[in-house]
């Protein structure tokens, strides 16, 4: 008896499943999104990209701008390559998008990703630029960037600069600074931004490469000070902080933050995301709690504009990583 009931139930379940699947398929042609969207974060919880995507998804969900659920999924590993490889392999699937970090360019340059921003994914929007700057703790003898450069010239290869990772944005920043100022320092790689700040604040290193949001709270409390930022012009919310270029050490370096989709995304999906992201970056919540608090520069680059920006970035990475000896000959 048990068996016959079960088999009947099975038949029922199969029929229902097929009907539902058929219905979903029909809907998919007319409407996007038609099922749960997976938002891939190729890094561990708590990092910059994780923060970005959870903020965006939080705003979308609160305003009910998506008819279906959105799941943020951390697929961390291989410094981002595991998550981006997943995205590249999902080619054509409109329901997978990911947080965009400079890794999509640098890992391609290093040969750790099989495809880049033009052939492996669809860049939906670059939403913010995160600046990089050099910071010291308040007890430090370096009051200005000139002090730091002078000390580095007096003691070549002795000053220590903390940053996150090797062959990373922070590492390249240090290398570009060395070239621009004609100095030599010791770069000390750390595992995370938090460890980096600790090393700077504890006085274990002479200076650190920081994103503004990593150090701003310390600066406000007068426990740390920034020496210079590697931007083209002074940051709107930190007018007192000089750029390296205006002090005569000309180099520019920054980190982009954006959203990317799979390659071959259908037009309705691209349209949905660009419109939704436009709405997101228009909210006060975004402007106040994300952009302003993290001291980011808000941008809204889409389509060809975004792709060309990334093309330019690729050139810079090729040069810098080549000089650092990170590329295989």
């Amino acid at each position: 008896m048990c068996r016959s009931v079960l088999s009947r139930l099975t038949v029922l379940a199969v029929v229902t499943a097929i009907t539902l699947a058929g219905a979903a398929g029909a809907l998919a042609q007319s409407k996007y999104p038609s099922r749960t969207v997976e938002v891939v974060v190729p890094f561990a919880p708590g990092g910059g990209t994780d923060n970005l995507m959870r903020t965006i998804v939080g705003i979308i969900e609160r305003n009910k701008w998506s008819p279906t659920a959105i799941n943020v999924v951390n697929r961390a590993g291989g410094s981002g390559t595991v998550g981006y490889t997943y995205l590249i392999n999902k080619k054509g699937d409109p329901h997978v998008i990911a947080g965009g970090a400079p890794t999509i360019v640098s890992a391609k340059v290093e040969g750790r990703l099989s495809a880049g921003h033009r052939d492996g994914m669809t860049v939906l929007m670059i939403v913010a630029i995160d600046e990089l700057m050099l910071s010291v703790r308040s007890e430090s003898p370096f009051q200005t960037i000139e002090d730091f450069v002078k000390a580095a010239k007096d003691r070549p290869g002795q000053l220590t600069v903390a940053g996150t990772g090797t062959n990373s944005e922070d590492h390249i920043f240090t290398y570009l600074l060395e070239k621009a100022a004609g100095i030599k320092v010791k770069y000390v790689p750390f595992q995370s931004g938090g460890e980096c700040v600790t090393a700077v604040m504890g006085g274990h290193v002479d200076a650190g490469v920081m994103n503004p949001n990593e150090i701003i709270a310390q600066v406000e409390a007068k426990k740390a000070r920034n020496l210079a930022v590697a931007a083209k012009k002074r940051m709107p919310d930190a007018q007192g902080l000089p750029t390296f270029a205006e002090k005569g050490y000309e180099f520019y370096w920054e980190q982009m933050r954006g959203v990317v989709g799979t390659a071959g995304l259908p037009p309705e999906a691209v349209k949905f995301w660009q419109e939704t992201l436009k709405k997101v970056v228009g909210t006060t919540e975004w402007k106040e709690n994300y952009i302003k608090r993290n001291l980011l520069t808000a941008v809204e680059w889409t389509g060809e504009e975004a792709n060309q920006y990334l093309d330019g970035l690729r050139g810079k990475y090729e040069k810098a990583l080549g000089d650092l000896g990170a590329l295989k000959k």
Binding site: A44, P45, G46, G47, D50, N51, R54, T55, V57, G58, E61, R62, V72, V73, N74, R75, A76, G77, G78, S79, T81, V82, T85, R112, Q158, T160, G165, T166, N167, K186, Y187, V188, P189, F190, Q191, S192, G194, E195, V197, T198, A199, M201, G202, G203, H204, V205, N213, I216, A217, Q218, E220, A221, K223, E288, N289, Y290, R293, N294, A326
Partner: protein
């Protein structure tokens, strides 16, 4: 005094009906998330974060910190009952907790874990409340040389984890260190022993290894025959869960030591609950009057580490609240939340948002009380789950291990890794190697290597950097002594024997 006024303010905030409700919801969800394999505190908090965006910052942090506290308790349950750690900070609890369960003493094991967690969690909040500024300074004084010295000391205690065969214990440890070498090297950027595989470049992840070595390995040992689970004859009443007078006497000091050790380790950036629990275990074995019982169901081996990991999670709040620096993955996620709620975590948080900070502190007290009640109440039903015939339980544990290995990182690769290490764990057990020593080395190894090399980059005088800085000098000398003393003792023993019986 200011403190009491602040605390009153905090309780005023935390004890509104809505916030109490959120704390209850948080601890229940946290306990479940902690008990579920693979889903640890960090992913639990990340998961619920978007939910809190609509709330006030205080309500949000109350929910998340209750969840955090709950998940630290919950991780113990599966470690004790089925030898499968729910999250990494309860891996060490498997060693003696599971042995206690096999002896029909799962109740007291869970009971002492709950009580120790309560004491440690509460004492941790007291320390957090009274000593934060001082502690923040202390945390900052730990640079790479100090971190290396601490890890070195941790590694030397591995002798406490080896079984009867010391040689095989050391082999297990070296094996763990070798596995720790696999993957991206943070200093050079080389992907060591990766053979061009992305997942290998990522390194050997600790939790799937632990789930495999302990959980799946145990299942294989049981699968061999009609497993005899004496646990089935245990009683399940609330009274049988209680600890005996001897249990109390034996657990008292481990709980106290675990609390302090755990808290101070937790304050340090980058160390965290997992390392605290391991160090507590080896410390307890070192000071115990009957070290031979460790590994065979010594209650100290549960009481110490479980107190340590909870105290450490309170300690990790210190750098988060006073400096705005994340001390662990979980607090990193919370910091992201703080910003979304419109707060600026940093040195000025106490001054600018007292209602938030003190509301959080008050809610941590509340969460610990709730958890004690909840967990003591949960013990009988959890124990009853073990009444299932082992032939069924075994299949369920395997599903549990597979699910957990996947859920932690969403990668099938890690599930495969779990399986491989399960078989290895079975063989190690059969041949007298020490899976625990391997796991310890795998946890401490990467931290030790990284700190060593960072120190040497910073240093102008090579290895001397470890001796010119007071904290690291003390720790390094302690580590050297930990190696040298047994060696010298063995040597003198051998000489004395030779003197008595001339060869």
């Amino acid at each position: 005094m200011d403190l009491f006024a602040n605390l009153a303010l905090g309780f005023g905030v935390a004890l509104t009906p809505m916030n109490v409700l959120l704390a209850v919801a948080g601890v229940i969800m946290g306990t479940l998330i902690g008990a579920l394999p693979g889903v640890g505190p960090a992913s639990g908090v990340a998961l619920l974060l978007p939910l809190t965006f609509g709330m006030s910052p205080t309500s949000g942090i109350i929910l998340l910190s209750a969840l955090y506290a709950g998940s630290m308790y919950g991780g113990t349950i599966t470690s004790v009952l089925i030898n499968t750690p729910g999250e990494s900070a309860s891996v060490v609890t498997c060693i003696d907790g599971y042995q206690m369960a096999l002896q029909g003493r799962a109740g007291p094991a869970l009971g002492v874990a709950a009580f120790g967690s309560f004491v440690a969690g509460t004492a941790g909040v007291v320390l957090l409340m009274t000593m934060s500024p001082l502690l923040a300074k202390w945390a900052l004084s730990f640079g790479p040389p100090e971190t290396f010295a601490l890890m070195l000391l941790g590694l030397t205690t591995v002798t406490g984890l080896t079984g009867d065969d010391a040689l095989k214990g050391y082999i297990s440890m070296v094996l763990g260190l070798m596995l720790a070498m696999v993957g991206f090297d943070i200093v050079s950027g080389d992907a060591r022993y990766a053979f061009g595989i992305n997942e290998m470049a990522d390194g050997v992840d600790f939790l799937p290894v632990a789930i495999g070595l302990f959980g799946f390995g145990e299942v294989l040992a049981g699968a061999e025959g009609a497993a005899k689970m004496e646990i089935l004859h245990a009683k399940y009443g609330l009274r049988d869960v209680m600890l005996t007078a001897t249990d109390w006497a034996r657990s008292r000091w481990p709980i106290v030591r675990g609390t302090f050790l755990g808290f101070f380790i937790g304050v340090l950036p980058g160390a965290g609950p997992t390392i605290a629990s391991f160090l507590s275990y080896t410390l307890e074995k070192k000071v115990s009057r009957h070290p031979e019982e460790f590994g065979h169901g010594a209650i100290e081996g549960v009481a110490g580490p479980e107190s340590a990991n909870n105290a450490a999670s309170a300690g990790a709040m210190v750098p988060m609240l006073t400096l705005g620096i994340p001390g662990s993955a979980t607090t990193a996620v919370m910091l992201g939340g703080l910003m979304m709620w419109g707060l600026r975590p940093g040195p000025l948080l106490f001054e600018k948002n007292p209602d938030f900070v003190w509301g959080l502190i008050a809610s941590l007290y509340l969460a610990n009380v709730l958890l004690l009640i909840l967990n003591i109440g949960f013990i009988p039903p959890f124990e009853r789950a073990l009444r299932l015939p082992y032939t069924i339980l075994m299949a369920l544990i395997i599903v549990f291990c597979v699910t957990g290995a996947y859920a932690q990182s969403n990668k099938l690769w890690d599930v495969g890794q779990m399986l491989v290490f399960g078989v290895l764990g079975y063989l190690m057990r059969k041949l007298g190697y020490s899976p625990a020593a391997l796991v310890l080395a795998l946890v401490l190894g990467p931290l030790a290597e990284r700190a060593l090399r960072q120190s040497l980059i910073i240093s102008d005088s090579g290895l001397m950097i470890f001796f010119t800085r007071p904290i690291s000098a003390v720790l390094v000398i302690a580590a050297l002594a930990a190696v040298a003393v047994p060696l010298v003792r063995a040597l003198t023993d051998a000489l004395r024997r030779r003197a008595v019986v001339p060869a």
